[in-house]
Symmetry: C2
Subunit: 595 residues, 2 copies
């Protein structure tokens, strides 16, 4: 070993010992009579101090040759420092060197290897191996390692077996686009890379494995959004002889274990919200419930359930056409924001009118601290009417009511975005606070207007709720699934379902999704056939591991929680991949490129 | 949960309790007045006993509908058995049912779900989900799970970080054939699937990660031999600031930990053998040292080192042309095999003459228990000369000397096979006995006659021994590498090396391997550039995880230690993959099939 100790472990207890440490030169200060080298490795920084008066000419010469990021080993004595530093763990000691070996020289790195670097994203990606030397990036990956260990610990204790499922599988048209791999030994045929091990984990349940998990790479050939990767990692799990309640409890336990073991945080019991309520009160299926700010409906909507339809109409028929014509008039109450300036309100209006939000305007009503209410629609609504709004919003003096109107789905979505924006502006989305909950009772199907057919909302293997099965033919859109999402801080961290384990029901499902009998058999025959040989009731969940890690790390983007990520064009700029391959390779695979 | 207990946990302590168990019907016996159901899950088998006199009509009717592999749940009381069974863990009790629910029916499986099945390999592969229900197959995968856990435990304790490296990487012509993945977003360009994470783990060392491991899928598009899989799993490790000795010690520790933790076996310190000795005394680079039976040279060979060249010639010049013309005359002594019959000796001769062994014949000499020696070449060698052979072989009365002659490399290889065959015949290769050792000092390069160029014996990133570097130009074949293999019972379980961490040496290596400067830069420029920014000395190892599991399981083939293996044509016959893909997919990828 080219060291006796790491750069992170020496302290007062080692004073007087002869040691060897190795690492990278973080920095050098040369004061003539004294020369300091900060030596860094994964474990910390240790100061090497050379008193030029007493040091050998060789040591001084070597030390003065060093530059940032040189790799050296230093043999020397551990000495107590005169002036100790509490900034680093080894701050009580320094090394008085007897020998310095240059293990490798270094040219000047293209950006500084500091916690706050001067390197831009592109440069950091190209020299990822240098970026990995920076503490924040390394700590992210250490965190990832720790979460993986604790995930395995938890699941191992519950008798889950980690089973590796194949990476070279079969392409299926359902779901996202597959990456495919031409087979040389079977010309004209292709493997696909798995979007998830879904069918294999179900077959493991049919095979009696009872409880399965895997931390596994999955692949989707999608047009990449800012924070998507073509390859990503899932914590993939499945259990037999369970009902939805069992899965929710088991993985609630896992999430709480992870928060406790990794971050030392006690997470309370996870609350549950139906999909219907999530849409109604938060406008999306993964509400951030770190803060309340629920939607308040100012007029009844067609889509509300019967019981809910008791909301009195507080806005229509007063001559304000925008509200009168709207399918939905809905708002939020921003606590303590009544003193927002005109400029701030204009910003909010601009925010909701951005194309990706899509609202046509924003109505506001300030509940001033003096008890008066001033709104942007005073022309149409008098103080008495506005007071009724305030009651509906449960607004107090000092609060700001923000209201959108229009087509229902679009308006809910826009208000959902505004709610998150207000949450951010009011400091209600502390990244060190964690609100975890389940969203349950998802619809089984959603209608795709473009394709003019039903799509599976979760996936085609998801079981409808038994009590809704009779609606499959008459009203497919109303059928609820035994499907659930795990949401943390407004991010969908995981999703799963109780699966269909019956061949006839699975066949029915494929029929609903527009498969011909032949197509269903060709693509998923192996699974349906398996169901005939005694498939147990089963269900599971998959958690986005990259996303979970970034959430634990308090970051928005997953890229820095992946050792070697790809950019938004799916390109690894460090190794320059993808890249052209040799003609011989194409010939062997019996494929050719189109011009 | 559709059960209160598993089928493996109930015993006397539970007698009187009301329980629910779920599982598969392993078998039913119907004696009229008594009806037994053996209910199976992953954890065991529990007997359900119905006394038809006392049972409800509903229970009896349900029970008589059941067939093998039906999935049921049984609610009932735990009762002490009259006649207990010690064949199963739950043999002291049985369940007296109050309610039987059929959770899923089953058609008759195509083979029996028993430890010894009547299903052939092809059938078992097609219905892999049924094969997985069999105890031996499931136990193999449970063993695999356990080995993975203990591997992680060991490495975690030593501060190794598990880091996921990318699966979509870059194709390189060095090494085996890559699987490639067309990139839709970068038309005409391809990713490759990794044959190993080699360059990435080295970059992690450059990135200061210090100690890395990963249990990771790798891919090789090779023509599959009986026991190769296109996707396989490696325990992949790398360490910085180490020398060969450190790697050997660390992973010797891991192997010993695994044997202890998983199999309860104490493995002694691993012995070490040079590649040169392995070839000389065993004829191959992964000798099975569960038994001795070293090669004995009867005449000097050109390739032997100077010191070794003292072997007196015991065979040449006596008129036996086969020996006189041979580059090498070499044999083994089979202890206690002097009484082999003519038939057995003929079998051995046939064995060595098989095309894959390639010897032209076999010479034997029996050292009879009466002290006489009879050989198949008595015409040329008298008793006195044969006695000298016996001395060279260290043979005792009762032993059999087996001798091959011919061209050196071929003869060593053939004798190596004969040695293993004799080891098997003499019962010296007990699969429950484990002999682990290191083979070290591999040559850096081997000459490929076909390609007329040097190939890297391990891989192009392997470091030559510093003392041999001066031979790189003058005598490349004599340069030894800091490369090592871990061999267990004659199987290469792992291999690794100290890597080059210097740009100039790495460039030199590529030059030796026939790369142009431009090719080397285009393909491995990212690594060589990385070496300029302060790369630490580093090295590592990769262990074949599938092979390790099969070895621990005492099996010859890896297939049954993989949940969903592919057959020898790289085909998954269960899901029928690879398969044709849609024209739209090809079009999107801008590739076409050749006719």
């Amino acid at each position: 070993m080219l060291r006796s100790h790491t750069c992170g472990e020496l302290g007062i207890a080692h004073v007087g010992q002869s040691v060897t440490i190795s690492g990278w030169v973080q920095g050098i200060r040369d004061k003539g009579s004294l020369l300091w080298i900060d030596l860094r490795d994964r474990y910390g920084i240790t100061q090497v101090t050379i008193e030029t008066e007493n040091a050998s000419a060789e040591i001084i010469e070597t030390a003065r040759k060093l530059g940032r990021e040189f790799v050296i080993s230093v043999k020397g004595k551990v000495v107590e420092r005169y002036s100790k530093s509490d900034k680093i763990a080894t701050g009580a000691i320094e090394i008085s060197p007897e020998k310095i070996n240059i293990l490798n020289a270094a040219i000047t790195p293209p950006f500084t290897i500091e916690d706050e670097t001067d390197g831009g994203d592109d440069l950091r990606m190209k020299y990822r191996y240098l970026d990995l030397r920076r503490n924040p990036v390394r700590k992210n990956l250490e965190l990832r390692h720790r979460i993986a260990i604790e995930t395995r610990n938890y699941l191992d204790k519950l008798n889950f077996l980690e089973v590796e499922t194949p990476v070279l599988i079969k392409s299926t048209p359902e779901g996202a686009r597959d990456f495919v791999v031409p087979s040389r030994m079977n010309p004209g045929e292709f493997y696909a890379l798995p979007q998830s091990p879904q069918t294999f984990k179900q077959l493991l349940m049919v095979g009696g494995f009872d409880r399965y998990y895997q931390i596994v790479k999955c692949f989707r050939d999608e047009d990449l959004r800012a924070d998507r990767q073509p390859e990503f990692t899932q914590i993939d799990c499945e259990m037999a002889f369970v009902e939805q309640e069992d899965i929710l409890n088991t993985f609630e336990g896992m999430v709480r274990h992870l928060f406790k073991a990794v971050k030392g945080i006690d997470i309370p019991t996870l609350s549950r919200m139906t999909y219907a309520d999530a849409m109604k009160y938060y406008g999306n299926d993964k509400p951030d419930i770190r803060f309340e700010m629920k939607f308040v409906h100012l007029s009844p909507t067609l889509s509300e359930g019967e019981g809910a339809n008791t909301q009195k109409d507080l806005v229509k028929g007063k001559g304000f056409k925008v509200f009168d014509d709207a399918q939905l008039v809905v708002g939020i109450c921003a606590k303590g924001a009544a003193e927002y300036t005109r400029k701030q309100l204009d910003e909010l209006t601009e925010f909701v009118k951005r194309p990706q939000i899509g609202a046509t305007g924003l109505v506001y009503a300030r509940y001033n601290t003096d008890g008066t209410i001033k709104s942007s629609v005073d022309k149409f609504y008098n103080e008495e009417e506005l007071k009724k709004w305030a009651v509906a919003f449960n607004a107090q003096p000092g609060d700001l009511m923000l209201i959108l109107a229009g087509e229902e789905a679009k308006t809910r979505k826009a208000l959902s975005e505004l709610r998150l924006e207000m949450g951010t502006r009011l400091g209600l989305r502390d990244k060190n606070k964690f609100a975890c909950h389940w969203v349950i009772d998802f619809p089984l199907l959603e209608y795709n207007e473009e394709a003019k057919r039903w799509h599976a909302m979760h996936h085609p293997f998801t079981s409808p709720k038994p009590e809704d099965i009779e609606l499959l033919d008459s009203n497919p859109g109303a059928v609820r699934a035994n499907a659930y999402d795990l949401v943390i801080n407004g991010v969908e961290i995981g999703g799963g379902s109780i699966r269909i384990h019956n061949k006839a029901l699975q066949a029915k499902m494929f029929e609903l999704l527009g498969f011909t009998k032949e197509d269903a058999q060709a693509q998923f025959g192996f699974l349906m056939n398996a169901f005939e040989f005694g498939a147990p009731p089963h269900g599971g969940i998959a958690l986005g591991f990259d996303r979970l890690c970034s959430l634990f790390g308090g970051a928005e983007v997953i890229r820095d929680f992946i050792a070697f990520p790809k950019n938004n064009s799916g390109r690894d700029v460090m190794i320059d991949s993808p890249s052209p391959i040799a003609k011989e390779q194409l010939d062997e695979l019996q494929i050719s490129l189109k011009k």
